[in-house]
Amino acid sequence: MADVAIPAAAARPRRRNALLAFCIAQPLGAAGAIAIIVMGAAAIFAERVAPYDPVAIDFGAMLAGPTVDHWFGTDAFGRDILTRVIYGARTALAIGFLSSFLGCTVGAVVGVASAYFGGRTDMVIQRIMDILLSFPIIVLALVVVAMLGRFLVLGVDLNLILAIAIPMLPRVARVVRSSALSIRELPYIDAARVQGFGHARIIFRHMVPNVAAPYLIMFTASIAQAILLEASLSFLGLGVTEPTPAWGLMLSGNASDFYREAPWMILFPGLAISVAVFAFNLFGDSLRDWLDPKFKV
């Protein structure tokens, strides 16, 4: 009995300094996390950080290059690009988080349920997931856009969030299912079943908490995907609409007419997308190495 207590005692200090330990073991991941925190802060405090109003039109300063007044220059309406990049972080992170949360959570529940019930249920669910997996992410997202149209609530297109979440669902479901399959065979699940617990209780109380690691890894990776996908859809004119500041949108419309003469119009929003995706990828990769080195997406 005594040797059971030792690992528990040893685990405690590690737990307390988990943050510090992560930063030391995964410096690149920590760098990614810092970039994410900076972006998050910019998004939350956009009103205080941004020098201008994101939709204020200034015809006196149209297509102006980077100056002391406008660090990143202005666009075809004389709107300050730095301001719009900062506000764009709000759009990107909000849509990225919401759609990843939705896609990963539903995907994880589907994956766990599929593994838990097994048999015919599992087979049917897996066949549907296989069909969804045979589409490139953006193609599936575009099909959902065509299917649902727009549904604006408080300026956020809920259907856009769905369009980004649905392509994630089968990818998360597959990964989570394979983790859940191994958990299903463990004695404590048998124990729960013997005690007469219902399916829902076993799934949500006993299996779901134990697939937390793959879930978290997929979640961070999905945010990077979601930001890229939102930018692509907005760029194609099928995502976020004017005048909401969004990075992908800033690369289309007027920008596509003028960027050859005014490259700063596309340079900074594109850089913002790249840095955001880069940061989440970096953090996600490190999180994977930290939580589960054997895990492969």
């Binding site: 099909v143 990077a224 594109g270 995706v277």
Partner: protein, 317 residues
């Protein structure tokens, strides 16, 4: 081998059928169709009669079952119906643009392979040196940069450094290879960068894994030249997962083309798809989705066949 092949081809049928059923009902489950976009699009305010008349003309007023029957019977005769917007056969609309997109896709794949295989191998062999770090930064950046932005940067750089822009009109490669390449090389490069990043990462981890195998130690112990160990023993075995990734990325290339064709003003498959979605052109969307699905299953089969070529231990029965 032949029996296996026939089996595999037959197995494609349920998958493709599943896709066909799914896409048909997905598009129709929520109200809203092309007639709305067509007649209300430019601020028009048509009467209910005009809307109904147009629906009737396009056959959208018929019962869903009847429309579905037409879609299914059409599929078996390779007739995808007519585009609801241009009213040309969907197969013609696709055929018109397939050549261009296919050429870009092939070039992107070639670029990706030429960059990724040597880079991934080098990165693995020189693990944890500055060359490895440089290559890894190059590949991670490739995953983060959106290909449409890369395309725009390419155009700006060409203009700035060479005061030159790619030609705007498409000429088939058999008519004017120079003009054709001058136009299509750049979009292929934009798509190919991301592609090569994915493949190079796989190549690196695959080589690292293989280098730990017993047979590599055996080869080295026998005194085989290191170059031969890498080329013949390591690379050949490491290539299998890499081929899978190349195949998967190729099947999904349309995703990259959707945005890149927009930047380079190319009239290809990706552009057609975006237009179809913007217009709610159901028949055209269905046709494009079927095309994507066919490319996916055929590429998967080709990858499995390639396994047997690269690894003689794999035999299909």
């Amino acid at each position: 081998m032949f029996v296996y092949l026939v089996n595999r081809v037959l197995l494609m049928v349920p998958t493709l059928l599943g896709v066909a059923v799914l896409i048909f009902f997905m598009l129709r489950v929520v109200p809203g169709d092309i007639v709305e976009v067509k007649l209300r699009g430019d601020g028009g305010n048509p009467t209910q009669e005009t809307l109904d008349a147009e629906r009737k003309r396009l056959g959208l007023d018929r019962p869903l079952v009847e429309q579905f029957g037409e879609w299914m019977t059409g599929l078996f005769t390779l007739d995808l119906g007519k585009s609801m917007w241009t009213e040309q056969p969907v197969t013609d609309e696709i055929a018109l643009r397939l050549e261009l997109s296919f050429e870009v896709a092939l070039m992107a794949t070639l670029i990706a392979i030429l960059i990724a295989i040597p880079m991934g191998t080098l990165s693995a062999l020189l693990k944890d040196t500055w060359i490895d770090y440089a290559i890894r930064i190059f590949t991670i950046a490739g995953l983060a940069m959106p290909s449409f932005w890369l395309g725009m940067l390419t155009i700006v750089s060409l203009l700035f450094f060479f005061n030159w822009l790619p030609p705007l009109t498409y000429t088939p490669i058999y008519e004017d290879p120079w003009n054709n390449m001058a136009q299509l090389f750049w979009p292929a490069l934009s798509v190919g960068y991301r592609y090569s990043a994915v493949v190079a990462r796989m190549m690196r981890s695959s080589i690292i894994e293989v280098l730990n195998e017993d047979y590599i130690r055996t080869a080295r112990a026998k005194g085989v030249f290191e170059r031969l160990v890498v080329m013949r023993h390591a690379m050949r075995n490491a290539l299998l997962p890499v081929i899978t990734v190349i195949g998967l990325e190729f099947a999904f290339l349309i995703g990259g083309l959707v945005v890149t064709e927009q930047v380079f003003n190319l009239n290809g498959i990706g552009r057609l798809f975006v237009q179809a979605v913007g217009r709610n052109d159901f028949t055209l969307i269905q046709g494009m989705v079927m095309l994507t699905a066919v490319v996916f299953v055929v590429t998967n089969l080709a990858v499995d066949m390639l396994y047997a070529v690269f690894d003689p231990r794999i035999r299909y029965r």
